[in-house]
Amino acid sequence: MERAIEGLREFGAVLRRSSLYRTRPWGYAGQPDFVNAVVTLSTDLSPLDLLRALQALERRLGRVPGIRWGPRAIDLDILTYDDVQTSDAGLRLPHPHLYERAFVLVPLAEIDPAFARARDALDPVEVAGVAALGDTGAEPRVSPPAGGSLAAMSRDAHAADRIRRLAEFLAASDVVSLRIDREDTSVELGRRFGLAPVPASPAPDVRVDTIRADLVGIFRLARPAPVAGESFAADRELAHIEALGIRNPVHSLGGGRIVSIATGDGSPVEYGQPLFLLDRG
């Protein structure tokens, strides 16, 4: 692991790194434990170039292309790259399983508090299975639930936004309903489309993508307007964002089914605001 992190320094500056976490193997039994860590890298490489560089580094560190989920020396993945979203065949960003895996979210939340909510929403049993190396007991080295941020939900300013982000998280997860009680605020979110809870891995092949605004402007649905539930096979222009008199198209980036339209027609949108949730399954 240290050699891998050293190797990463060739591609840029390692700004932050998490502790090392030991995880019970996922997918296959009878394997040795995995060790996981997450780092923040500042790099000039584009996402695809970075992916190629990581693959080269994996090869150097002894991974051979082989069984998926099988034992290997090292596996290097890009979880997020700024706010880049791609669904290229070779590289999907953010990482499609980012929100499902405790061994990713626990170290990630350690170095980026923005992910603490997602981590705290995971199954506690799964979170407890990810223990920081050097810890003796079963206590995982995770900070307590993100009370600071959730407590702020009662404040009008961020409430809507936080709920929206929770809803988005929920839609992208296997969680069916979620209830949070804090001080004077209580939030309960449920999914309308009924997926039976799937307790065991591997996860079902439901992949919900969020299409986000990549600039500030006014959101306008395409005509005829797309509606929730609608499916399409290929790339399609769903909407556009009007900014500085320019019409900036919003594409579906491939086929899928619209789970929901997250922003009202004609509303102002900010950078990174979710516009559509698409089921790619």
């Binding site: 700004l15 932050r16 700024d82 706010d83 508090p113 923005a114 600071g148 941020s149 702020a152 404040r155 009008d156 300013a157 961020h158 936004d161 600039l215 500030v216 402007g217 006014i218 900014a243 500085l244 102002p268 949108v269 900010e270 950078y271 990174g272 605001q273």
Partner: protein, 467 residues
């Protein structure tokens, strides 16, 4: 994004019956965004904050009437993202943009783009920003205005020209990049033998840093003090100076750490001449809004160095001594109002000192720190001002400058202001990152600071000596 209902209930605001701005976009972050937001609130103007994803939970976002994310953490994609910032101003119905300091504050093109979209840029006219932003042009214009400039040259095209000019000025000379800043493209040349190599490396560094390799030469002023004059000009041709700030306590990187007003041991003759030159310069370029003329002073000599065409970090020092609100005046002036005072109305009183509290490790050459503030207690009490955007639990992201707070104290005399600052810094508790609180306290207690006898060489040599 955040949209609160209190905007709708605001009436259009007016001063003496004239409607000024309804809504201002603050194109900045940190304490200065909070500072501008306060001034707007007092004037009854609604505010729109912009923020990066790293700043979502920031104080400036929480305080504004509306807030829009304009990009990810890195500044090039958020706080310097002109299209997203302008688009935010337009879709929220702003009539003006306050740039704060840093980021887009001295970007003439941004000021121009604001104007093109019917937004008032709260600052000087774009052509003045452009002229003052180019060091060689600024120096030429100031020279024309009759302001003393460091003996030196215009752009020198090649090393032969540089050698000839350096001989005439006299060694040691300084090679400076016309597009320069932060010491980039700057070289001290002690002897003629070193000139050729220094010229080549300064040119190359300037080219690499600013995509503009042009340099000029200046006489090196040994151990100067950095003294700057605060000015304000309005659209009616009124210009006032609001005295000086002594900013000689500078880190090895030339960033200021402690500022004070008035400057200790400045002779009446030099002080009067600095004031007179500052006002003359502003009239010459028909300067509007807030600005600062920086001078290097050594003995009885004072030379213009550069002009900052924006509000400065250390403006509270002047506000304390002159009992004015510079940001409020900036907004009024931009709205076409006359200044609310004339030169004869503003009389300095007492002494003010500012210490910059940065998340930096003073023992590691002031290396910036990031992390989470686990405990935070700022000083209170009479004549203590704290400008900050920090709260307990604030996460300091790696993308931005490391200033956490500015602590300013005011006293009837310099010793009283120093004493109060010692008390204020002793009360300050910041846990989670290393800060400059300790080093500021040490510096206040040095005999040199106590006596007011320090120049820009003091802190770098102090740092070297304690290591």
């Amino acid at each position: 994004m955040d949209r609160r209902s209190n905007t709708a209930s605001r009436c259009s605001c007016s001063i003496e019956g004239n409607v000024i701005f309804r809504k201002v976009l603050i194109a900045n972050r940190g304490e200065i965004a909070v500072r501008v937001e306060r001034a707007c609130r007092e004037l009854g103007i609604a505010t729109v904050a912009v923020f990066s994803e790293a700043d979502r939970d920031s104080e400036h976002v929480a305080r504004a009437d509306e807030a829009f994310c304009v990009g990810p953490g890195p500044v090039a994609r958020s706080y310097l993202n002109i299209p997203n910032i302008i688009s935010t101003a337009l879709i929220t119905g702003c009539d003006a943009v306050h740039p704060g300091y840093g980021f887009l504050a001295e970007n003439a093109r941004f000021a121009e783009i604001c104007g093109d979209h019917g937004l008032t840029f709260i600052g000087p006219r774009p052509e003045v920003i452009a002229a003052m932003g180019d060091k060689a042009t600024a120096k030429r214009v100031m020279h024309e205005a009759g302001v003393a400039t460091t003996p030196g040259t215009g752009i020198v095209a090649n090393v032969d020209e540089a050698r000839k000019a350096a001989g005439a000025i006299g060694y040691p000379v300084l090679i400076k990049a016309t597009a320069g800043g932060g010491g980039k493209g700057m070289r001290v040349v002690e002897h003629e033998a070193d000139l050729e190599r220094a010229f080549a490396s300064a040119t190359a560094e300037a080219e690499a840093s600013f995509k503009d390799g042009r340099v000029y030469l200046e006489r090196l002023i040994a151990n100067p003090r950095h003294i700057e004059i605060q000015v304000l000009g309005d659209e009616f041709g009124n210009v006032v100076q609001l005295g000086e700030r002594d900013c000689s306590m500078q880190k090895p990187s030339h960033q200021k750490l402690i500022e004070e007003s008035p400057a200790p041991h400045l002779s009446d003759r030099v002080r009067a001449s600095l004031y007179e030159m500052a006002v003359r310069a502003c009239r010459y370029v028909r300067y509007t809004n807030a600005g600062t003329l920086e001078f290097l002073c050594a003995g009885d000599e004072a030379y213009f160095m550069e002009m900052n065409t924006r509000i400065q970090v250390e403006h509270p020092v002047t506000e304390m001594v002159y009992d004015v609100d510079l940001v409020r005046e900036q907004i009024r002036i931009a709205a076409g109002e006359p200044m609310s005072f004339e030169q004869r109305d503003i009389v300095p009183r007492g002494h003010a000192i500012e210490c910059r509290i940065n998340a930096e490790d003073a023992n590691a050459n002031f290396a910036p720190q990031c992390g989470t503030l686990t405990r935070l207690e700022f000083p209170k009490g009479p004549n203590v001002r704290v400008d900050t955007h920090m709260r307990t639990g604030t996460v300091i992201p790696p993308y931005y400058d490391s200033m956490l707070a500015k602590i300013v104290t005011f006293g009837a005399s310099r010793p009283a202001a120093i004493e109060l600052m010692e008390r204020a810094l002793s009360e300050t508790v910041i846990e989670g990152v290393s800060t400059t609180v300790g080093v500021c306290l040490e510096l206040l207690r040095t005999p040199e600071f106590q006596a007011g006898r320090y120049d820009i060489g003091f802190l770098p040599s102090y740092v070297k000596a304690i290591r």
